[in-house]
């Protein structure tokens, strides 16, 4: 930074030289050339001095040159071509102040000289060229500024030196403070001519244009940088990035800065960096540790709403699934129960209708006859007695006896369901054995009737009776089951 300051000062000096030198050749041209590098050539700033150029009106008011100069400078810094409104960190405000300060006194100094030679009327006419008046520093005040600037350029002087220059310039200004302000301003507006008269022989005219060209080039560079949002208010910095120096200086400057030095500024910067690092780490930890802690109230409310809604949806879904599960479960239960019932029903009916073989405790009744004597009615009587006693499955010889069975025929050739039976008649009955046996043998009962017919009957109770005979029943043609629920 110090280098830049020095260079900037040098640039001013260079501009001044250019203006002065060119002026001896072509007075009109010089101002315009120099105006290019000088960003401060904003008309507004210089309009103020122009107003003051009218002697009778403004001279009394503008007594304090020191007050006006800073104002102009301030505005010059603010309204410069590169002015980006932000307060960028890189803005070297102090430098902004400095550079114009250098210039303003120079104007006045130049004016001091030129006041004698120039008529006040020229002021407004040369208005646009005003900024050029800055350039006279080196020439007009060789004792202070001009002598100083080269030193700074060469040694990359410290910022203190720059300030020092400013101070000196101010001192110079003070020296001329008694000069009438009006005269000063007029002179400032006509710097080119003035410098031409004072330093006509000091420089070859060819170098005049060269300086502005160099200055203009960096101006582009800086403007480019400014377009990136750099926002450097010091529009008068164009001369700063000198090409050859700038190429090396970025890394060199970094390396230079890496050298540990304990100045106040370094410590201060270090403290700020430490603060930044601390806050950075804290924040990173914070955001990784607690996600919800740093959220705002409305964010939390929104989050809560979303969570609640989601939970409700899930609860509903869970309830639906539970219900479905229950339904399936009960359905399968019911189905199983129905199946079991049907199976039991089928078994029962199968036994009753003679479609299934059956086994269980029961009795065996054997009816014998020496001659054909047992009538079909007696057989029917025996069957009814068995049913009354609770017989569940009955078989006579090889025929199953069912609800539709019928005994017909004459004694000796009794027909059961169309099949003629041959004696002896063997009944296999599944049921409560004692009950059946007792029922058959009661006085005047079935067995008694058989004896009355002339046959003989014996009843044996058995632990296990197998009724193996089956009967195929035709499917009902006309009868259909009554539907459920009727």
């Amino acid at each position: 930074m110090t280098t830049a300051d020095g260079r900037r000062d040098a640039a001013h000096g260079g501009d001044a030289g250019a203006a002065a030198r060119a002026s001896d050749g072509t007075p009109d041209e010089t101002p315009t050339d120099a105006a290019v590098p000088h960003d401060r050539a904003v008309p507004d700033d210089r309009a103020v001095p122009d107003d003051r150029a009218v002697p009778d009106e403004h001279a009394p008011r503008d007594d304090g040159p020191g007050h006006h100069a800073p104002d102009d400078d301030a505005r010059g810094g603010g309204t410069g071509p590169e002015h980006t409104p932000d307060d960028d960190a890189p803005d070297a405000l102090g430098h902004d102040d400095l550079a114009p300060d250098d210039a303003a006194p120079a104007d006045r100094a130049a004016g001091h000289r030129g006041a004698d030679t120039l008529p006040p009327d020229d002021g407004p006419a040369i208005d646009p060229r005003d900024p050029l008046g800055l350039g006279d520093i080196g020439l007009d005040e060789p004792d202070a500024v001009a002598a100083r600037s080269p030193v700074e350029v060469g040694t990359a002087g410290e910022p203190d030196q720059t300030v020092d220059v400013t101070r000196r310039v101010r001192e110079v200004d003070d020296d001329h403070g008694d000069v009438d302000e009006t005269v000063t301003q007029h002179a400032a507006t006509t710097t080119a001519t003035t410098t031409a008269t004072t330093t006509a022989s000091s420089a070859p005219p060819t170098t005049g244009p060269a300086v502005p060209v160099i200055a203009a080039d960096p101006a582009d560079t800086v403007a480019d940088a400014a377009s990136d949002g750099a926002g450097r208010a010091d529009a008068d910095a164009p001369p700063v990035p000198e090409r050859p120096a700038g190429e090396r200086s970025a890394w060199a400057r970094l390396a230079h800065a890496m050298r540990p030095r304990t100045t106040t500024g370094q410590l201060l910067t270090a403290a700020l960096c430490a603060l930044l690092g601390f806050a950075l780490v804290v924040q990173v930890r914070q955001s990784t540790d607690t996600q919800l802690g740093s959220l705002r109230q409305d964010d939390l409310v929104r989050l809560l709403d979303e969570t609640t809604t989601r939970a409700d949806e899930l609860a509903r879904e869970a309830a639906d699934l539970q219900r479905e599960h229950d339904e399936l479960l009960s359905g399968s239960d019911r189905q199983q129960a129905a199946l079991d019932a049907a199976r039991r029903n089928a078994a029962t009916q199968g036994i009753l209708t003679g479609r299934l073989p059956a086994t269980g405790p029961g009795v065996r009744v054997t009816l014998t006859e020496t001659a054909p004597s047992i009538r079909a009615a007696t057989m029917l009587h025996v069957l009814e007695e068995l049913r009354n006693a609770g017989a569940e499955a009955i078989q006579v010889n090889d025929l199953r006896v069912t609800a539709s069975s019928a005994f017909t025929g004459a004694p000796g050739e009794i027909v059961l369901d169309g099949v003629t039976l041959s004696p002896p008649y063997r009944w296999l009955v599944i049921g409560e054995p004692d009950t059946i046996a007792t029922a058959l043998e009661i006085p005047g009962g079935a067995v008694a009737k058989v004896r009355t017919d002339g046959g003989r009957g014996t009843v044996e109770t058995l632990e296990r009776v197998d009724v193996t005979a089956l009967r195929e029943l035709p499917e009902p043609v006309h009868a259909t089951p009554v539907p459920d629920g009727r």
Binding site: P90, A92, T262, A270
Partner: protein, 110 residues
Amino acid sequence: MIAVIGLVLGVVAGLLIEPTVPANLQPYLPIAVVAALDALFGGLRAFLDGIFDERVFLTSFLSNVVVAALIVFLGDQLGVGSQMTTAVIVVLGIRIFSNAASIRRHLFKA
């Protein structure tokens, strides 16, 4: 150099101390950190430009942080806190990017 050491020291201190941020400061700390980062990049860029000034750096650092936090605080009070946070972050991000571009141009000439 000292600045880098300071940065490292701050990080280490943050890691070791593990402080807890007060609840009412929590929304503003990230903004402040980003603003400080912006100031840091601006300072680096100014340094490479050769116009670094500790006073300006200090001022811009602190003012950036304070203003950023203040804007977000104001947004919170107005009920547009999160939007304001986004706006500030965007602006600071743009600035950081432009500063980084300038730094890159300085260092790599590209």
